[in-house]
């Protein structure tokens, strides 16, 4: 009986010893080498399994001691057979039994509650962390979390964890069918859970290798993995809740003498799946039937004796060989490096093979990504971020407002100010002040790694991107040194953009033409985002524009005046001319006709001068007589003496302005 009791201890101990390195191995590698969320959280069930194994181990020791005590007691009882004197005394002497009872009464609930509570807290914190990652706009966080990950190594690690855990769990599950190993069932359950997570991790890894870039983007895959992880965490949460609830159920459980006590923390949910007769058991049977792969007590023991060392070795070898496979993703190019020496061939996207470390290694560069930096503001390179040049007096007073961009309001942090040549200012006029203008200019330079020249990118410069930035700034300073401020701001803005891009590109091409100095970078585009005079003079520049507007207004007004005046004077000239023409017409036509008439009159006159004269005279009188307005007085006397009287009478009638006119 003693032997069997010791066997329980032994299995618990072995199980513990196997689990511990697996746990450490998982913990260490899931972070460093193959960042996989699932493998990372499979540490949880492993820790629980380890704790439960330890509890089982401890309890089996107590049970053994209890048995030994019982035996001892029986032997003593045999010796003293017939003497019932100390019969009542015996119960208090059973120290081991009491110890076991105390353990069941106190240690188990405490361990269960601690595991439940701490587990829930841990699951909650992880779940909230991963939930943030799975939201759609956390691409950069995701990329960071999975940076440098290789799907192949994730698969390798998952399988290395899956296989031993499944074997161990199956073995413990089978073992727990005998009453004395009953307590190993709980650890078996949790090892199964851990194995399950590793399995899911492996499946996701396979999906990544198989379907990447065809069906999913890298990011979509990561989001999928995070979502699966969150579901696994929820499952763990349910199991931890069950452990806590188990404490309550324990009080209401009917107790019969013959039923075998289960540990309070044993999961009934997992029991449904993994217990003998459960789903997993049937799967194990199916495997057994198909492959004759019997996982039993004895076979496992033999396996342990012969197989553990080779197995561990095999795992190491597999992991080592996994280093032979690496992936070049779409948009990337790679190099194979043999004993430090970089290979000549550039590797295109796909799964590639190499010798394991230390013989060969690989370097991968993203050649599709459009990289960029902005000139004219503090840069991403630390050395240039100091405020280069004079601080702008307006800069501190205004906060940055990016919605409305006007020259007079600060819209970019840490603007650099460039010196620009001046035109037409003589030295004498300036005195001490240098002959320069100042200008703020921001341009975004976009560039790529040349996919045909990643050697140069990797090995010619410590930081080729920093070099490009420096060259760009140098060329900009050089360009502006003899440019004209006003034309940059005005009509030559577009030409300036092209000229700066050309200057940088030319310098880059000069470097790239020599394999020793090549940078492996190519400029994609340069766009001048903003160009304006420094804030404190911007207003003056705007006043020039308004002056120009004023000028045009004034000119327009003058033009309007001109047009009116021209039209008016033309009209006047027409009037003058028409008067003259009228005069001419009068003078030419009338005298002519008069002359013609005169010729006729003269003819008549010559025939009878007195008669003609009389006729003409009488004609006039007749004509006058027809006019009623002319007052006519006929005086039938020789002298005009009575005339005065007549006029007097007329005056009385009201004709005050009467003229004495008489013919």
């Amino acid at each position: 009986m003693t032997g069997i009791s010791k066997q329980a201890e032994k299995y618990a101990c072995i199980c513990f010893i196997i689990q511990l390195p697996i746990l450490i191995f998982t913990w260490a590698l899931s972070g460093l080498w193959a960042p996989s969320a699932l493998i990372k959280i499979s540490v949880f069930p492993q820790i629980i399994a380890l704790i439960f194994t330890a509890v089982a181990w401890w309890r089996s020791i107590l049970v053994r001691k209890e048995h030994e005590e019982e035996l001892e007691r029986e032997q003593i009882a045999e010796k003293r057979s017939g003497e019932d004197l100390f019969g009542d005394h015996d119960e208090s002497m059973r120290i081991a039994k009491q110890g076991r009872k105390d353990f069941d009464k106190w240690a188990l609930p405490i361990v269960s509650i601690l595991v439940g509570v701490i587990g829930l807290v841990a699951v909650y914190s992880f779940a909230s962390k991963y939930s943030v990652l799975s939201s759609e706009d956390s691409g950069s966080l995701l990329a960071m979390a999975f940076k440098g990950r290789s799907a192949v190594s994730v698969i390798g690690l998952s399988i290395c964890l899956l296989v031993p855990q499944l074997i161990l769990a199956a073995f413990l599950n089978g073992l727990s069918r005998s009453p004395e190993h009953r307590w190993m069932r709980a650890p078996a359950h949790w090892i199964f859970v851990s194995g399950f997570m590793a399995g899911v991790g492996a499946i996701l890894g396979v999906v990544e290798v198989k379907f990447l870039s065809e069906t999913f983007s890298t990011e979509a895959l990561y989001v999928l993995e995070i979502k699966v992880t969150v579901w696994c965490l929820i499952l763990l949460g349910i199991l931890f809740c069950e452990i806590l609830l188990g404490q309550i159920f324990e009080y209401y459980r009917p107790r019969y003498r013959k039923t075998l006590d289960r540990p309070v923390y044993e999961s009934r949910i997992l029991g449904v799946i993994f217990d003998p007769g459960g789903i997993a058991h049937n799967v194990a049977h199916a495997l057994d039937y198909q492959f004759g792969f019997k996982i039993s007590e004895t076979s496992f023991y033999r396996f342990l004796e012969r197989g553990v060392f080779p197995f561990v070795l095999a795992v190491i070898v597999v992991l080592y060989l996994l280093d032979c496979v690496f992936m070049v993703r779409p948009g990337e190019r790679g190099l194979r490096i043999t004993m430090g020496k970089a290979g000549k061939t550039i590797l295109n996207p796909g799964v590639k093979f190499k010798l394991p470390i230390p013989f060969q290694s690989s370097k991968i560069v993203n050649t599709e990504e459009i990289r960029s930096f902005t000139m004219g503001v503090s840069s991403k390179f630390a050395y240039a971020s100091e405020t280069a040049g004079p601080a702008d007096e307006y800069a501190d007073k205004n906060t940055v407002d990016k919605r409305v961009i006007v020259w007079t309001v600060k819209h970019v942090e840490n603007e650099r100010i460039y010196l620009v040549a001046t035109h037409g200012t003589s030295r004498g006029e300036l005195g001490d002040i240098p002959e320069v203008n100042m200008l703020s200019l921001h341009a975004e330079v976009q560039y790529q790694v040349d996919e045909t020249n990643i050697h140069a990118f990797l090995y010619n410069y410590e930081n080729p991107e920093e070099l490009l930035y420096t060259i760009a700034e140098q060329q900009l300073v050089g360009f502006l040194a003899n440019a004209d401020l006003v034309s940059i701001l005005g009509e030559k803005r577009g030409a300036t953009e092209t000229a700066i891009e050309d200057a940088i590109e030319e310098e880059l091409l000069r470097l790239n033409s020599n394999p020793e100095t090549a940078t492996g970078l190519t400029i994609v585009n340069l766009s001048m985002v903003g160009v304006h005079p420094p804030l404190s003079v911007a207003e003056s520049f705007q006043s020039v524009v308004s002056a120009r507007e004023e000028k045009y207004t004034e000119i327009e007004q003058a033009k309007a005046y001109k047009q009116t005046i021209e039209k008016d004077s033309l009209a006047e000239s027409y009037n003058i001319l028409s008067a003259a023409n009228n005069y001419k017409v009068q003078l030419t036509l009338e005298p002519e006709s008069e002359a013609a008439q005169f010729r006729v009159h003269m003819k008549n006159y010559k025939l009878a001068p007195d008669l003609f004269r009389l006729i003409a005279y009488l004609e006039v009188l007749e004509k006058i007589s027809e006019d009623e307005k002319i007052r006519k007085f006929a005086v039938a006397a020789k002298s005009g003496k009575r005339l005065t009287n007549v006029i007097y009478q007329e005056r009385k009638l009201g004709y005050s302005d009467l003229d004495t006119e008489k013919k």
Partner: protein, 316 residues
């Protein structure tokens, strides 16, 4: 059966030990040089000048005899540890703030010199900082401000100045430290705060002047246009007047010809004109008093009545 497993086990252990010791021995006798590295074998403290520095695997003697020194072979961009932005005086005593950068690497032909005199990147940067600063001061002090920034292509000399800086740094760096300087350039050229303020003021004044000039030119242009308009007006009207005068003269001339007709009988003409004038003169306020001496009223005169037996008639 147990002896067989024992044998197997011992074989395995031997193999394992063999592998481990092989790796250890290999690490003693070989060294690898990465693509981005230089390596120099130091045999008993004596650098082996002819040692192979190309990337790949190379043989050496075990540690206490041979040691290997490595350094990055890639070029680095460097602008100085301190005084990256430094106020410097030009030849014509204008303070400017200049930042000079260089790209440098260990000279492939002088790796040993570099190793002996500099050894690390940090040391190199320290030494290069001094070199950059002194060269910058020297070279910039030799040139006047207008050579740095100028609209005139003939005066500006920026490229030449950068070349000068490069030449001086490169020569010293190579000779003294075994460093190959590949390029040098001015990546920032600015003015100190107070000078900048003056420049701003000048720019403002210049802009104001520009604005004033523009306004004045606007006024001038406007006046010109107006004056032009006035001139045009005068011209148009004068032309019209002149033309009118010509027309009138022509008319008068033509009229003259007609008047010559009248001269043929001045007596009749004057009678006719008198008659015409008389007709015009008589208007509504005229009282016309006709006595019997004036025809046709003479018909009422006594002499005429005497002459005629028939009664006379009076016309209105």
């Amino acid at each position: 059966m147990s002896t067989e497993t024992e044998k197997k086990k011992s074989k395995f252990v031997v193999a394992l030990i063999a592998i481990v010791s092989l790796i250890f021995i290999a690490s003693l006798f070989f060294y690898t040089v990465e693509e981005n590295q230089y390596a120099v074998v130091i045999r008993l403290g004596e650098p082996q000048i002819e040692s192979d520095t190309s990337p790949g695997i190379h043989a050496k003697l075990p540690y206490p005899i041979d040691d290997v020194w490595y350094h990055d072979r890639r070029a680095m961009v460097f602008a100085g540890n301190s005084g990256e932005l430094e106020e410097v005086l030009t030849k014509d005593k204008i303070n400017v703030i200049v930042s000079v950068y260089i790209t440098w690497r260990v000279d492939p032909n002088q790796v040993v010199t570099f190793m002996n005199r500099v050894k690390t990147t940090e040391n190199a940067q320290e030494k290069l900082t001094d070199l950059i600063r002194s060269t910058k001061n020297n070279v910039i002090g030799r040139h006047s401000f207008s050579e740095f920034i100028n609209a005139n292509q003939d005066i500006i000399n920026l490229q030449e100045i950068q070349d000068e800086i490069y030449r001086e740094i490169a020569a010293d760096a190579q000779e003294l430290f075994g460093i190959e300087v590949r390029s040098a350039g001015i990546q920032h050229f600015g003015l100190p705060e107070n000078t900048s303020q003056k420049v701003f003021e000048r720019m403002r004044a210049e802009r104001k002047r520009e604005a004033d000039t523009i306004r004045a030119s606007g006024r001038a242009e406007s006046s010109r246009i107006k004056a032009e308009a006035d001139t045009k007006r005068a011209e148009i009207i004068s032309t019209a007047r002149a033309e009118a005068t010509t027309i009138r003269a022509q008319a008068d001339k033509l009229a003259n010809q007609s008047y010559q007709e009248f001269a043929k009988d001045p007596e009749l003409a004057s009678f006719l004109f008198e008659l015409e004038a008389l007709e015009k003169m008589l208007n509504k306020d005229t009282y016309l008093i006709l006595d019997t001496t004036t025809p046709p009223m003479n018909l009422f005169s006594e002499e005429y009545l005497k002459k005629m037996t028939a009664p006379a008639e009076e016309g209105k």
